[in-house]
């Protein structure tokens, strides 16, 4: 039987179970019917229990109608609702004390279905009876199986642990041994592991051979006291103990269903999972995250004798336990193992120990180097599936901790020089976006040079991916800044684990370098890819981050996009790009205005250069005269073409060809609007929209199409003089 039985769907698992469960449900139906009738009279169940608690030893069993009637009663209650704690105590005591011989024992044990909890005292007493009475061996086994099945429902375990030695003495009983080992496994704590017990188990092992139950118990002993016992579990051995729920399974399910989910939650079965060792042999096994193991060589004994008891991380199985033991958790033997479990990651977040982090970084750095840099025979490509999983795990750890490991950062700087840009691209770019702020004097060589080479030689998708990655990188840097910036001395720690401090101006320089670099990449990239709208969209994503650095992240830095980005966006054929550009320009304006206001207010000059204001104003003028005023190609604006050339092109009114009506991105809207506005009109004259009234309707129409960026841009930059009548706006220059 499988180690894990899912209770909820086990009813349809096999025909065998089916018959059992249907039988029991028939029975429970009958029981329920009778029960209703009985409830009217005085409660006969209480009387039945009284009979079993009072019945004298030696009472004959055969032909005893009282016994039969009462037991049937108890069984009915047990199979329908489960037995209350006191009933469990009484029935267990009755059975194990053999007051009516061993014959009813099995029958009683089988009906011990707890309704809520099992009182610990009852179990302890029963264990004691195990030593006193002459209970047949099969019944003894059944009893232990029952304890294992209801283990999680026992209300407390302290007394059971107190008689650990007593229970341990049963391991010598050959038939009981597997079940006793399981029970001991559930009860073992560090104090219970003693040299003589280890020796006893080893002695048994030499007698019985390699038995899984002995190994599982011994491996738990090893977890607690690795200095006493060592072993390695063969990979093909099944992990965990089997469970012994079968005699009670259907009844438990029925009771559980009836009693609702509050019992169901406590019904997690008493079986344990052990660390699975993959059986597959690999040539390069460095990608395996080591298993959590406790430290063998503990620190000096002075440390142990002190009252501070440590808990190995292996023993922590839930978040609640983690919280409870946070102050005394012992780090595992191999720090790399922390990456393997989500619970351990929670703890890693709190680890302050520098050398522990160094250990982790040694391991991680070694693994990455061996797999991707040193591996001569193309290791990374050979087992890319494993590499993929490993990097994904690493990435999720990064995301969880919200920062990268320094060894993966150092690795990336080297790897970027050898990377072909396609091997495990999403993962590598993901790792790259997590690197902390690089000093501006080094950023070029470490990041920009290799990235530039990759960028210009790779496909459109790589370009988009890199743009997204750099955007994420910038976002993380800005977030670090806003989180760690200390208000007084303007120093920021870049990373909670490293204490490398950077001055604010140093940080600003790095950010500026990054933004400018992306600007260069984007300009050339747009040119190479023919202003591909997918790529443009990633570029605009980046500038949506850049335009808000002051207000969102409190960094007094505003960098304008280069014209290589601005014009392709302005003249894009899709309205969304133009709309996003308008939004970005709007945000720039809001940021610049508030920066200026703050500068005036605090008299603290953080100096956004005149050049930036100039660039911004220039862009706004261009946008307004292009989209609004129909003054494209005027001297002094960004785009200039020779007069003759424009005339030669035979475009009528070329100066208006990029206004909101004739702009290739908005033309279809203008046509649509024209048709709606003058449905009867045969000949289409788009210029008629230019008149004051239809123009404002047209704008309304555009805004209702969801072009909020445009709307905000217009509202913040153009003050319309409706009285002027011709729809001419006026730019606000600062």
């Amino acid at each position: 039987m499988a180690a894990s039985i899912n209770l909820s769907d086990s009813e349809r698992s096999s025909p065998n179970d089916q018959s059992v469960s249907s039988r029991s449900s028939n029975r429970s139906l009958r029981v329920a019917e009778k029960e209703r009738r009985k409830n009217e009279a005085e409660d006969p169940f209480v009387l039945a229990l009284k009979y079993f608690s009072d019945v004298e030893a030696g009472t004959p069993l055969y032909g005893n109608d009282d016994f039969e009637r009462n037991l049937v009663l108890v069984e009915k209650v047990a199979y329908s609702r489960g037995l209350p704690p006191e009933a469990i105590s009484i029935m267990l005591e009755f059975a194990m004390s053999l007051r009516m011989g061993s014959a009813p024992c099995v029958r009683v044990l089988k009906c011990l279905i707890p309704a809520s909890v099992v009182p610990q005292e009852a179990v302890v007493r029963a264990v004691v009876w195990l030593g006193v009475g002459k209970i047949p061996i099969n019944t003894q086994i059944l009893f232990i199986k029952w304890v294992l099945t209801v283990f999680d429902m026992i209300d407390a375990k302290d007394q059971l642990r107190a008689i650990y030695g007593f229970i341990f003495s049963y391991v010598t009983e050959e038939n009981l041994c597997p079940f006793i080992c399981h029970l001991l496994y559930l009860l073992t704590r560090k104090e219970s592991v003693r040299v003589f017990r280890v020796r006893k188990l080893l002695e048994l092992q030499s007698k019985l051979g390699r038995q899984p139950f002995l190994l599982h118990l011994l491996s738990l002993y090893k977890v607690f006291c690795p200095e006493l016992v060592t072993l390695s579990i063969p990979s093909r051995m099944r992990s965990g103990f089997r469970n012994h729920i079968s005699p009670w399974k259907s009844a438990l399910i029925a009771v559980q269903k009836r009693n609702g989910p509050q019992v169901a939650s406590s019904m997690s079965l008493a079986f344990t999972t052990m660390d699975k060792t993959s059986s597959r042999k690999r040539k390069h096994c460095h990608l395996q995250i080591p298993a959590l193991r406790p430290v063998v060589n503990k620190e000096a004994p002075a440390d142990q004798s002190s009252s501070r008891k440590v808990v190995p991380l292996v023993q922590i199985h839930s978040f609640a336990q983690l919280l409870e033991n946070m102050h005394r958790i012992e780090l595992p033997a191999q720090m790399g193992s922390l990456l393997g479990s989500s619970l351990a990651l929670q703890y890693l977040d709190c680890v302050q120990d520098e050398s522990a982090l160094l250990r982790l970084n040694f391991w991680l750095g070694y693994t990455l180097h061996e797999e991707f840099l040193f591996c001569g025979d193309g290791g990374a490509t050979q087992n890319s599936e494993e590499a993929l999983q490993f990097l994904n795990k690493l990435l999720s750890a990064h995301h969880f901790l919200q920062e990268g490991f320094s060894s993966s950062e150092a690795f990336l700087y080297k790897f970027l020089n050898f990377w072909d840009g396609s091997l495990l691209r999403p993962q590598i770019l993901g790792l790259l976006s997590n690197i902390p702020v690089v000093p501006s004097s080094q950023i070029g060589r470490l990041l920009f040079e290799p990235l530039m080479q990759l960028f210009f030689t790779s496909s459109l998708f790589f370009k988009c991916g890199l743009m997204e990655c750099l955007n994420n990188m910038l976002l993380k840097w800005l977030t670090w800044h806003s989180v760690y910036a200390l208000e007084d001395d303007l120093d920021i720690s870049l990373n909670s684990h490293t204490s490398i401090n950077m001055t604010l101006s140093g940080f600003k320089d790095s950010v500026m370098e990054l933004v400018r670099f992306v600007g260069r990449l984007a300009s050339v990239g747009l040119q190479i890819e023919g202003c591909h709208s997918l790529f443009l969209s990633f570029v605009l994503d980046f500038y949506e981050t850049v335009c808000d650095t002051f207000l969102k992240y409190g960094l007094p830095l505003v960098v304008m996009p280069p014209s290589g980005v601005f014009y392709p966006a302005l003249l894009a054929t899709d309205p969304i790009s133009v709309d996003r550009l308008a939004y970005i320009m709007h945000r720039y304006k809001v940021n610049l205005t508030s920066a200026k206001a703050q500068e005036k207010q605090t008299k603290q000059a953080f100096h956004i250069s005149r050049q930036t204001f100039h660039e911004f104003n220039h862009y706004v003028v261009v946008m307004v005269s292009c989209l609004w005023n129909s003054k494209m190609f005027q001297p002094g604006l960004g785009i200039q073409l020779g007069e003759e050339l424009l005339l030669k092109s035979n475009v009528p009114q070329y100066w208006a060809s990029f206004d909101l009506i004739h702009h290739p991105a908005f033309m279809s809207y203008a046509v649509d609007f024209h048709q709606k506005c003058w449905p009867g009109k045969k000949d289409m004259d788009l210029s008629s929209i230019k008149h004051s009234k239809p123009w404002s309707w047209y704008l309304e129409y555009l805004f209702t199409q969801g072009y909020d960026g445009l709307k905000q841009f217009v509202q913040s930059n153009i003050s319309r003089q409706l009285t002027a009548g011709d729809g001419q706006g006026d730019t606000q220059q600062r």
């Binding site: 390699r210 840099l373 080297k414």
Partner: protein
């Protein structure tokens, strides 16, 4: 950057790694050079050598005052690629063994072919706990050998016996951790009662003249023994490695001896010819042609010596310090190997520069590019191990 460079006064740019100890755990980014040449790095990258003694070394330490420690680290990382062959590289020729080295231990180290690995620093390794480690490792081996049978750690074990010992006096400087020797004995299957246990595996962990900057940058609790050599059954090697990994949270990676290091060794051994006869200088080159061509090139030791002498720098050119250290310059090594190559070309019209040096052997020792080395004369033990320690440190991930 300006400041950094200007501070490098009369210092060979490649003599030392500049590291500022920050509180953080990112000590060094140097290891980018360990990558094999297939990745596009020039094979001569590991040619950086450290100076012989700490006293001499001090004059080579680049002192940088900079607010950001990582800057200097980056600087080193980036400059490594350039500082390959053009700078002065000093290499101490001869370290004589101190007398206190146990001759029995020394005898174990020579005349065995070792397979090399690099090891990241060991956590919580104590030279005082070797007895305990012996017991643990033997129990571990026994448990691994018999999968699924538990072993008592403290109890007496049959089968394998492990002994850890310290090779006193091999360490060259105060920063070097003492060398640790591991031997595994086993009782032969059909042994008589009184027959002694046979040594089936041996290995060592060492650090000779390790880069003091790196060693000092490690926090307390770490022991840096970066060079591991093992000899014996592969199974036992991997068991020993995995026990170390689990116990001291370290990692083992294969250590190849690259082209440049092999050339170094060839020059080094040739340089010793007057003291102890080489008998022959044998080199194996592989040339990337189809079918692959292997060239075994054996040189008369006297001829090699004369060639070597002819390429040696004029003594007068050397500064006092260099002469005192008896150092070899990488330029000399390059010229020496170039001389050997052109000699070969003259006779066979085959340019060995197109190929790779795979193996060098003399009576003083032999080395293979796969990372196997045999040191036959204990006099040159330290010198060779210094070179290998350096190679191992260059492989460190951080």
């Amino acid at each position: 950057m300006e400041r950094l460079q200007s501070s490098v006064v009369r210092t060979p740019p490649n003599s030392t790694v500049v590291q500022r100890r920050s509180k953080s755990y990112r000590q060094s980014y140097r290891s980018c050079l360990g990558a094999p040449s297939r990745l596009g790095l020039t094979p001569g990258l590991t040619a950086r050598r450290l100076n012989s003694s700490r006293r001499a070394l001090k004059s080579h330490v680049i002192t940088v005052s900079h607010t950001n420690p990582s800057l200097t680290i980056f600087y080193v990382l980036l400059n490594l690629q350039r500082e390959t062959l053009n700078g002065h590289v000093f290499y101490p020729v001869l370290f004589l063994l101190k007398e206190k080295v146990n001759p029995e231990h020394l005898a174990l180290l020579v005349k065995t072919e070792w397979r090399l690995s690099y090891v990241t620093p060991l956590h919580q390794f104590r030279h005082t706990q070797l007895k305990r480690y012996s017991r643990q490792l033997s129990a571990f081996i026994a448990a691994e050998k018999q999968q699924g049978v538990a072993m008592e750690v403290e109890g007496s074990q049959s089968g394998f016996r492990v002994s850890f010992s310290v090779v006193q006096g091999l360490a060259a400087t105060d920063d070097d951790a003492e060398t640790v020797l591991i031997q595994i004995y086993s009782t032969p299957v059909f042994a008589r009662q009184d027959e002694p246990q046979k040594s089936v595996w041996s290995g060592w962990l060492t650090c000779i003249n390790g880069n003091p900057e790196y060693l000092e940058s490690l926090p307390k609790g770490f022991t840096c023994l970066p060079l591991f050599g093992g000899s014996g059954a592969e199974v036992l090697t991997s068991l020993v490695k995995s026990w170390f990994q689990r116990t001291f949270d370290c990692c083992f990676g294969p250590l190849e001896i690259n082209h440049t290091s092999l050339q170094w060794l060839a020059a080094l051994w040739t340089n010793c010819h007057t003291e102890s006869n080489l008998q022959h200088l044998k080199m194996i080159w592989t040339l990337p042609v189809v079918p692959p061509l292997q060239v075994t090139y054996t040189v008369n030791p006297q001829d090699a010596w004369e060639l070597w002498m002819s390429v040696r720098k004029d003594r007068l050119e050397r500064t006092e310090e260099e002469a005192e250290a008896g150092s070899i310059d990488i330029e000399e090594v390059v010229r020496f190997v170039q001389g050997l190559k052109s000699h070969f070309y003259r006779h066979f019209r085959l340019d060995l520069s197109a190929g790779n040096l795979n193996q060098v052997s003399t009576t003083l020792g032999s080395a293979k590019s796969s990372g196997k080395i045999k040191i036959s004369n204990s006099r040159y033990m330290i010198t060779t191990l210094t070179l290998l320690t350096e190679c191992a440190l260059l492989k460190m991930p951080i």
